[in-house]
Symmetry: D2
Subunit: 442 residues, 4 copies
C-alpha cells in the first residue's frame, strides 16, 4: 500500500460519487488515493461519464495526484484494488419505484430497506454482490469491501454467510445523521457528542448518548421526542414520537423505526405522498435529473450543495472516514455493519449487526454491548429473522422462502396479502430475478 492506493467504486456513475471524491480529496494528506476507478454498467454509461468528468475537474482543482478512471469493465477496476466500494442499484430507480408503489396497492408500506421493498431489493442485489465477492477473491483478495448499497444489513449478512470474503464492512449514513441531528437539536458541536449505537442496519438504536464523555441520555431522549424538534432523514417523514414511549423504551430510535413503531401513521403519510408527489423513488428521480444537470456544467469543480437533498447525506463521508481509519489504523470508534461475534447478546454469533466498532488496520472490532434492553430486543430479533430468511431466499431462489420472508415482515399484515404481494412483485421484477424464474421452472 505504500505507493498509493487504488480504489474501485462499483456503481461509480451514482450521483453520490462527487461526495466520495470530495472525501478523498480532503483526506489526501493522510490517505494517498492514487487511482480512483469508477465502474458502471452499460445502462449507466452516460451518467458515469458525466460524474466522471466532474470528478476529474474536482481533482484538478484540488491539485492532487489522483487519477480518475472510468470503465464498464468491473474486473479491470477490481484488479489489485485496495478498497472496493459498492453503491450500485440493480434495476435502477425504476425498480425502487416498484418496490415502493406495488405494496401501497395492498395497503402496505414498501420500505425499500427493511420492508417488502427491501426484500425485493435484497433479492435483486445479493446475487450480484456475491458475484462481485468472487471477483474480489480472485482479483484483489486483500481488498476491503465497503458496501453502501442497500439493504446494507442483508447484503453484509449475505457476504458473511455465502462468500469467502472476510474483509467486508457495511456502511450506513443513518448513525451519522442521527448524531448530526441530535447535535443540532441539543445545540452542541457534533464532535462533542457520542452515541452508543447498536442494532441492525436501519434498525439501530442509540443506547446511550454522551456529551464530552458524560452520559446525557435522559436529556437526549427528551430532545428526541420533543414535539417541536422532530428529526429525521431527508426521505422519512418526521412524524413525532410519543415522549412517554421514548421514555419507556429508554433508548434513541432511528428514523426508520417510525415504520415499525408508527406503522399506521407512516402508511397514511406514504399513501398521501403517493397521491401528490409519487413514491420517494419518483422524487429522487427528479432530484437526480437536477443533479446531473448541475454535474454537466463544465464550470462546476466542486460537489454541489444540492447533493445533500438526495437523502444520502454523509454516506460518502462515512465511507471515506472508514477507509481512512482502516488504512491508518486509527482505532477510532465508528458504527458499521459487521459480524456480531457476541457483541450483542441474543443476536446470532454469525450474523451482521450495526454496532460501534473500533476501526483498525485489520478492520472493525465491535465494542461489546451485552444485552439490548428487553423492550427493543424483540423487534431487532424479528427483523434479523426476516433478514436471514430474505438472504436465504435470495441465494436459493426458493419461492417458499421468499413468501415466508414477506409474511413475517412486521409491515405485512397477513399471509394472504403476503402471497398476493409477493406474486405481484416477482412478476414486476422478473428480469432481475433469474434464480426465481429458473427455480420455478425446475
Amino acid at each position: 500500500m505504500e505507493k498509493g492506493l487504488k480504489i474501485a467504486v462499483i456503481g461509480g456513475g451514482s450521483s453520490y460519487t462527487p461526495e466520495l471524491v470530495e472525501g478523498f480529496i480532503n483526506r489526501h494528506h493522510e490517505l494517498p488515493v492514487r487511482e480512483l476507478w469508477l465502474v458502471d454498467i452499460p445502462e449507466g454509461e452516460e451518467k458515469l461519464n458525466i460524474v466522471g468528468e466532474l470528478a476529474r475537474r474536482m481533482v484538478i482543482k484540488a491539485g492532487i495526484d489522483m487519477t480518475i478512471y472510468l470503465t464498464l469493465d468491473r474486473r479491470q477496476a477490481l484488479a489489485g484494488a485496495d478498497f472496493v466500494t459498492t453503491q450500485f442499484r440493480v434495476g435502477l430507480l425504476a425498480a425502487r419505484q416498484k418496490d415502493e408503489a406495488i405494496p401501497l396497492k395492498y395497503g402496505v408500506i414498501g420500505q425499500e430497506t427493511n420492508g417488502p421493498g427491501g426484500l425485493f431489493k435484497a433479492l435483486r442485489t445479493i446475487p450480484v454482490i456475491l458475484e462481485i465477492t468472487k471477483d474480489i477473491e480472485e482479483l484483489c483478495p486483500e481488498a476491503w469491501l465497503v458496501n453502501f448499497t442497500n439493504p446494507a444489513g442483508m447484503i453484509t449478512e449475505a457476504v458473511l454467510r455465502h462468500s469467502n470474503i472476510k474483509k467486508v464492512v457495511g456502511l450506513c449514513n443513518v448513525p451519522i445523521g442521527m448524531k448530526m441531528d441530535l447535535a443540532e437539536v441539543l445545540g452542541v458541536e457534533a464532535d462533542r457528542l457520542e452515541i452508543q449505537f447498536a442494532g441492525l442496519n436501519h434498525m439501530v438504536y442509540g443506547l446511550d448518548v454522551f456529551l464530552d464523555g458524560i452520559s446525557i441520555k435522559e436529556k437526549a431522549l427528551a430532545a428526541a421526542s420533543d414535539p417541536g424538534k422532530q428529526m429525521s432523514m431527508k426521505n422519512i417523514a418526521a412524524l413525532g414520537w410519543e415522549p412517554d414511549f421514548i421514555k419507556g423504551i429508554g433508548v434513541l430510535p432511528c428514523p426508520y423505526h417510525r415504520y415499525y413503531y408508527k406503522t399506521d401513521e407512516m402508511l397514511a403519510e406514504e399513501l398521501e405522498a403517493f397521491e401528490t408527489t409519487g413514491t420517494r423513488a419518483d422524487v429522487v428521480k427528479g432530484v437526480e435529473t437536477e443533479l446531473f444537470d448541475l454535474y454537466k456544467n463544465v464550470e462546476l469543480q466542486t460537489k454541489p450543495e444540492q447533493l445533500e437533498k438526495r437523502g444520502g447525506a454523509y454516506y460518502s463521508e462515512a465511507a471515506c472516514s472508514l477507509i481512512n481509519s482502516i488504512y491508518n489504523n486509527k482505532q477510532d470508534v465508528q458504527p458499521v455493519n459487521t459480524k456480531n461475534c457476541g457483541a450483542i447478546a441474543g443476536i446470532p454469533y454469525d450474523s451482521a449487526v450495526e454496532v460501534n466498532c473500533i476501526i483498525t488496520k485489520e478492520g472493525p472490532k465491535p465494542i461489546t454491548v451485552g444485552e439490548l434492553p428487553v423492550a427493543v430486543r424483540g423487534l431487532v430479533q424479528q427483523i434479523k429473522s426476516f433478514e436471514r430468511t430474505a438472504v436465504e431466499a435470495a441465494v436459493s431462489g426458493d419461492y417458499y422462502n421468499a413468501l415466508t420472508a414477506m409474511a413475517i415482515n412486521p409491515l405485512v399484515p397477513s399471509d394472504t396479502i403476503a402471497k398476493y404481494l409477493l406474486d405481484d412483485m416477482l412478476e414486476a421484477h422478473k428480469d432481475y430475478l433469474p434464480a426465481f424464474f429458473h427455480s420455478e421452472k425446475a
Copy 2:
C-alpha cells in the same frame, strides 16, 4: 403423600371445575385425591356453591373416597395442600369484555392473552398470583402450583422471576387441542400422534409431527393448511392458512398465530363479530349462564357435554394428567410452560417457554429443542420481549413500562394509538390495578 392428596383449586367456582372433578375421578385408582378444596372470592360464592354441589354429586355417583370442600378462605384451602391449581379471573368476565372491546374502538384486536387485552389481564392477575405464591411458600411449601389462569405464559414468567416458588407449571389446552384436531383431520387415533411443541404460551409451534414415532411432517403441514380442513379453537375464527406459507415456515402454527400472521383478516372478523354477537366475553357469558343452569339441576351427576363449547376443552384433562404424572413419576411427555434453561436456543435462560417436557416426580424437565427455525424465531422472541415488559409493568406499576409493552405488541400499530389505548384501558380497569393508581399518585 402416602395417605392421599389434598388439592386446592383457586377459582374453584369456575365452570371448568366439573371437568377437573371428572379427571380426578377417572384417575382415582392411581391418583388418590382425598380432599378437593374449591376456593373462591365472595363475588363468586353463588357459583362456587352450584359447582361444588355438582362436584359432590359426581363424587357420590363415582363412589370414591374424595371429599369436596367449599370455602372463601384461601389460606385454609392452601394449608398442607399437595397441589394448587389456579383458574381464577380477576375482574371476572366483565373485565375480559373490556379487554376485548376497548381495543376494537382503536381498530386493534384485543386478544385476551398475547395482545392488548392480554397485557391488561397480566396487569390485573400477576399481583394476585404473587400473593398466592407467598401463601404457598408459607402454608404448603412442597406443593406444586399448576396454573391455568391466562395469560399462562406471562404468569409463569412472573412466578419464575418474582416469587420464591420453584414448583410452578403453566398449563394450556392449546397443544392438546392441536393434537386432537390434527388427529381428526388426518383420520388417525390421537394417541398414535405426537407433536414436538416449542415456543411460548399461545405462541407455540409444532416443530414436527410423528405418527407411531415416524415423522409425517410434510403430510401434517399439508393437512393443516388444507382449505377444506381448517382447525381452530372454539374461540378463534378458523380462517384458512395459505398453504404455501405453511410450507415456507415448515412448522405447524397454533390457532392463536392467526392473530399475528393474519392480522388484517382477524381484525375484520372480530369487528364483524362484535357487531353481531359482541365480544367473545359476551358469548362466554351466555354459555356460562347456560352451564350454571345445567349445573343447578340436582339430577345432574356428571360433567355435561355442553362444557366443551366453553373453549376450554381439555384444560382440566391436561391438568389432571400433569398432576398424575408428577405424583406417579410417569416420565411421559407433556407440553407445559416451564423455565427454559437452554431448551430453546435464543430465548433467555430464565424465561418461561412452552415446550415438551418429561414429567417426573420432581416436575417437568424440558426436552432440548435447540434452535427454532429462523423463520419463526423472531416472532417468538418479540412476544417474549412483550411478555417480559408486561411482567415488569405488572410488578412495578410503572406507567412507562406499561406503555412500552403496549406499543411493542405486534398487534398495536403505533406508539400514539398505544398511548390512547393504554390510558383508556387503565381507566377502565382502575379498580383492579392498585399498583398503577398508587404509583401515579406518588
Copy 3:
C-alpha cells in the same frame, strides 16, 4: 423395517459379542432381528469364527428366527442394515498396551480414553470410523450407527463434525455401571433408581439421584464417598473419594474421574500394577484368551459368566436396550452420547455430550440440563477442548494439533513431556497413523 431387522456388528469378533447376541435373543419378542452380520478384519478372522459359532449355538438354543452371518466384507454387512454397531479396536490390544505403557515411562497415566492413550486411540480410530460413515451413507443411509468403540465421546464428536451421517449415537457402560453399583451400595433394586447423568463420555456426573422419583442426592453422595463402599469399574482402581470433597462438588463422580481428581494416587497405583501385572491391556489379553477358550467349547450355548470380568459389563445390554427403544419408539430415558444442542449450557452447541435422553424412533432427544454446577463445569469444558483438539488432529494429521491436544490434557504435566511423549507414541503407532506420516512428508 416391518419384515425384520438387519444388524451389522463391526468388530464382530470381539469377546463382547455373546452379550450382544444374548441381548437380541432376550428382546426377540419385540425386536425382530432376523439377520445379525458379524464383520471383522482378516487379522480377526479366527476370533470371528469362534465367537460366530458360539452365537449360532446360542440362537439355536433360543429357538428363534435369527441368522448369524460371518464376513470379512464390511460393505456386504452394511448393505441395507437397519442398525450398525461398532466395537472394533484399531491395532488390537497390542496398541492399547502401548497406549498405557508408554506414558508410564514419562510418569504419566496413559488412560486409554481421555488421557494420552485416549488421544492415540482417537488418532487411530477416527479415520476408520469416518470411512465407515461414508459406507453407511452409501449402503444403508437410513441406518442408526450405534458406536461403542472408545473413546466414544471423541468418536461421536468426529462423526457429528466430519461426516454426513446424522443418525449416530455413542454408547458407554459407565452410567449403567454407576447405577448398578449405587443400587448395590444403597441396597435397593436398580430399577427403582434413576440418575440424572450429564457431562462427557468417561467424564459424566450424576447431578441428582432419585429413588422412586424422589431425590436422595445427599444420601447417594454419602454412600458414594463412604470409605467402606467404594465403587468402580472393573478396570479402575477403587480408590476412595474424600467424603468432604464429594459433599463439596455436590454431584456423583464417575469412576474415571479418579484420574483427574486423584491423579497422584492413580498414577502410583498404575505404576505399581504395571510392575506386578502389567498394563490393563495385558490383563485383558489374559482374560480374552481365557474367554475364547471357553467360547471354543462346542457345548457352550449361552454367554459365559466370566465375560463380566472383561470390564465391559452392561455394554451390550446398553446397546440392545437403545436399539430396542429406537425401534419401538419407547420414549424411555437412557444416557447416551449425542449432539448437545444447548442441553448442557457452556458446552458448544455442536459438540457431543453424554446426557440423559428420551429415546424415540427418531433417535435420542437430550433432556435439558441447564448449567452444570460451577465446581465441575471447568473440568468438563477443559476435557471438551482436549477432545475437540484431538478430533482435529485425527482428521487433519497435523502434528501441532496433536501436540496441543497432548499438552492440554490435564494428565500431562508439561509441554516438554508432551512433546517427548507424543513423538514416542507417534513412532510406536506409525502403522496406524497414515495421515500423520503422510502429512509429515508433505
Copy 4:
C-alpha cells in the same frame, strides 16, 4: 471533578507507591490530582510515613499543586474521592510466605494468584474488599475503584457479584509486561506494538500481535518460544516454551501460564529455589527492606530504579494510565479486568475477564473477542470455575466450597492432598479468616 481530583490509595504504605506518585506527577498537565490520600493500617504506619515523606519530596521537586495526605482512617480518605486504588495485602508478606511455602510441603506449587496460595489470598482479601465497597457506596459513590491487589481476577469477580459498586476495574501489570518484553525481543519500539489480550487475570493470552497495525503473529510466536529469548516476569522463572507447542496453540501465553503448561518443571524450580533463597515472599521481603532503606534517604526526591526489581514493574504506570483515560475520556485501548458481557464467548456473561477495552469516561468497554481458540479455552474455563468457587467460599466461609476450590485447582493433584493442604493452610491463616472459623463453630 473540575476543581481537581482526590485520589485515595488503600495500602498507601506499599513500596509501589512512589511509582504511582511519579505517574501522577508525569500526567499532571492533563490529570489534575490535587489530593493524594495514602491510607494504611496501624501495622503499616511506619512504612506509610516513610513512603509518604518520599512522596512529598517528589511532589515538591516536581513543583506541582498536589497535596499528600497520610492517614490510618480509611473512611476519611474515601470521603468524596474520585478514584480509589487498592494495593493492600491482608496479612502482609508473612501471609504470602505461608501461601507459597505450605503447598511445597505437599509437593504442590503455591502460586500466590491462581493456585492454592491464590485461593487463600482470595479468602483473606475478599471480605476486606467487600467492606471497602460498602464504604465507597456510602462515602464516594461516584468514585472508580481501581484494584491492583491480587488475585485481581477473583477480587473483580467478587466485587461484580457481591457488591453494589458498578465502577470497578481490576488492573494487572502482566499485559504491559508482555508487551514490553516482546518489543525488546523483537527489537521494536513498544508503542508500535499492540497485543490483542483476552482471558483471565494471570491467565491472559495474546491472541494476535500487531506491528503498526499489521498482524505479525507468526513472528511473535516464534520469538516468544525462541530458546534464546525467553521472557518472563521478575518473579517467574523464565523456563523455555516448546516452540512446537506455542505454534500449536497459536497464541502468546503469559508468564503465569508456565505454572499450568510446565507444572513439573516449575515445581522443581520452586522447590530448588525454596532450598536456596526461600519463597518469592522471602526474596520480596529482602527487596522491600532495601527499598525502604532507600526511601528513608531524605535526599531522595524521585522513584529509585531498584523498585523495578520488585516484580510489580509497570503496575502503577498501568493504574495512572487507566485513571487518566477515564478522566479524559481518551477512548484508547487498554487491557483490564472487567465484566465480560459476552465479549469472550464461553465465559459467563457476569464474570470478570481480562480483555482489551476502550477506556471511556464511563469506564472500560470490552472489545469483542468472540470464541477463544479451542485449544486454550478449556483451561481458561477451568480457572474461571476455580475462581468462582473460591469467591463463593470467601463470601460464605463454607468449608466444603473451599475444599472444592482447592481440589479443582489444576495445580492440586488429588482430593486427598487438597484436604490436607486446605486444613493446614486454614490453620495457618486462621487470624485472617473469621468467616471460616465462625462458620465452623456454627
